[in-house]
């Protein structure tokens, strides 16, 4: 099996250049590539376009990369939880493109599947449809959306092996599998990296073919946004 293991996040992201297009997995702060984000902060790379469902919070996740002004543009479905984000947006420092969540997921899936465009009902008759081709199928209207691809996809999984096979845990899976398939270079960080042969092939969520570099992350904080308990 091909060994894709690298030492750490710094080595994994070494060739991310200014103005790259990144995909970052996660929903809210659940399933985000914490170690890669920390390494990007250290690298000082700038002008990034980040495709991610959300933009983190002020002091965690992509929010940290906003604070250091490393992000030029966000492509997301929901960006509510971040005061610095709002400030940069209103002052014009940050560009934002908002996309319906299912369309975002499918555009990334399409990018990783070799499908340049597809038709979806989401957004028909709304401002999301402006400038897009619409077409009728079986009496209903749909609009055309195109694929999304990235220079680098940064994904987080629970377990992985050195050939890049990945298993996610709980709802931390979210956007990670599609992003893994849509990156020109896909970097996976995992909580536990095991030798080839230790993962059950029946249980693999992302086959290693999509992953170019993999490392075992450290010090996962896994911050909770809305800590809610039973009364």
């Amino acid at each position: 099996m091909i060994n894709k293991g690298v030492k750490n996040a710094d080595e994994a992201i070494r060739d991310i250049a200014d103005n790259s297009v990144l995909m970052l997995g996660g929903f809210g702060l659940c399933g985000i590539p914490e170690n890669c984000i920390a390494a990007i902060l250290r690298s000082g790379v700038k002008g990034l376009t980040c495709i991610s469902n959300n933009a983190g919070v002020d002091d965690f996740g992509i929010g940290l990369m906003l604070k250091t002004r490393q992000v030029k543009k966000m492509i997301s479905s929901y960006v509510g939880e971040n005061a610095e984000f709002e400030r940069q947006l209103l002052s014009g420092e940050l560009e934002v493109e908002l996309i319906p969540q299912g369309t975002l997921a499918e555009r990334i899936r399409a990018g990783g599947s070799g499908i340049p465009a597809f038709f979806t009902p989401a957004g028909v008759g709304t401002e999301v449809a402006e400038g897009k081709e619409t077409r009728e199928f079986e009496g209903n209207m749909y609009l055309m959306e195109t694929w999304l691809k990235a220079d680098f996809s940064l994904v987080k999984a629970w377990r992985g092996d050195t050939s890049g096979n990945l298993i996610y845990r709980g709802t931390a899976r979210n956007f990670n599998p599609m992003m893994a398939s849509a990156g020109r270079i896909t970097i996976a960080e995992v909580e536990e990296l095991v030798p080839v042969g230790e993962l059950d092939p029946n249980a693999i969520h992302t086959p290693g073919i999509y992953v170019h570099r993999i490392f075992q992350g450290s010090n996962y904080e896994k911050r909770i946004e809305q800590r809610t308990v039973r009364k």
């Binding site: 929901y78 319906p100 969540q101 899936r109 709802t171 899976r173 911050r223 308990v229 039973r230």
Partner: protein, 219 residues
């Protein structure tokens, strides 16, 4: 007049045995607390879970298990986990039987606006546009009027739309109404203590009143 809990309790009466349901953030999330215990339903969370369970105890909080509102949750026995593309595949293909969500405005044709107020910070539509474009049955939980007393049940929405002609039923603090296929809000029930005249005054869009309108029963 119904408070938030009252609206959630009334919407829970719409739930039927065997349904797959997606609950939006806010009042819709509360509906889960009032679904009759003898009913078997499965709650879908668009971030990748079928089978949302109750909130966890302090001891079994798991940061890898959250709902679409980013709250910590548990899973019911028999749950299934999947990625976001698959989540919206089941939504788009009509597998989810019922979608319950909030709204800022609904038009008499069932257009819904709930994601953007011009001049205010735009947070994004999240999964709302995908949900309203595809769900077979959409029930909206909303306040009938704004704090200033302006009707939110309109001839035509004034805010940017989330979806066209998609809302089937509205449960507001004042009434239960159906949106008719050819336009108009048909009044089905009054909230406790609310008169038909009060509902008329609070509804800008075309209101259709057929015969006696019963008061809803909330237990």
């Amino acid at each position: 007049m119904l408070d938030k809990i009252g609206i959630a309790k009334r919407i829970a009466q719409e739930v039927q045995d065997g349904m797959y349901i997606n609950l939006g953030i806010g009042i819709p999330t509360l509906v889960a607390n009032y679904i009759p215990k003898n009913m078997n339903v499965v709650l879908q969370s668009e971030n990748g879970l079928l089978g949302i369970g109750p909130f966890p105890t302090e001891e079994n909080i798991d940061p890898d298990l959250i709902n679409a509102g980013k709250q910590t949750i548990t899973m019911m026995p028999g749950s299934a986990l999947f990625n976001s593309a698959e989540s919206f595949a089941m939504i788009r293909s009509g597998k989810v039987d019922l979608t319950i969500l909030g709204a800022m405005e609904v038009s008499e044709y069932g257009d819904i606006a709930n994601w953007k107020v011009p001049g205010k910070m735009v947070k994004g539509m999240g999964g709302a546009m995908d949900l309203v474009a595809s769900a077979k049955n959409i029930i909206v939980a909303m306040q009938h009027c704004s704090k200033e007393g302006a009707s939110k049940l309109l001839k035509k929405c004034t805010l940017p739309l989330t979806g066209l002609r998609c809302v089937k039923r509205i449960v507001s603090d004042l009434a239960v109404l159906d949106v008719l296929p050819h336009g108009g809000f048909r009044l089905l029930q009054r909230a406790p203590g609310v008169t038909v005249d009060e509902i008329k005054n609070a509804t800008e869009g075309r209101l259709i009143i057929d015969g006696e309108i019963p008061e809803m029963v909330i237990i």
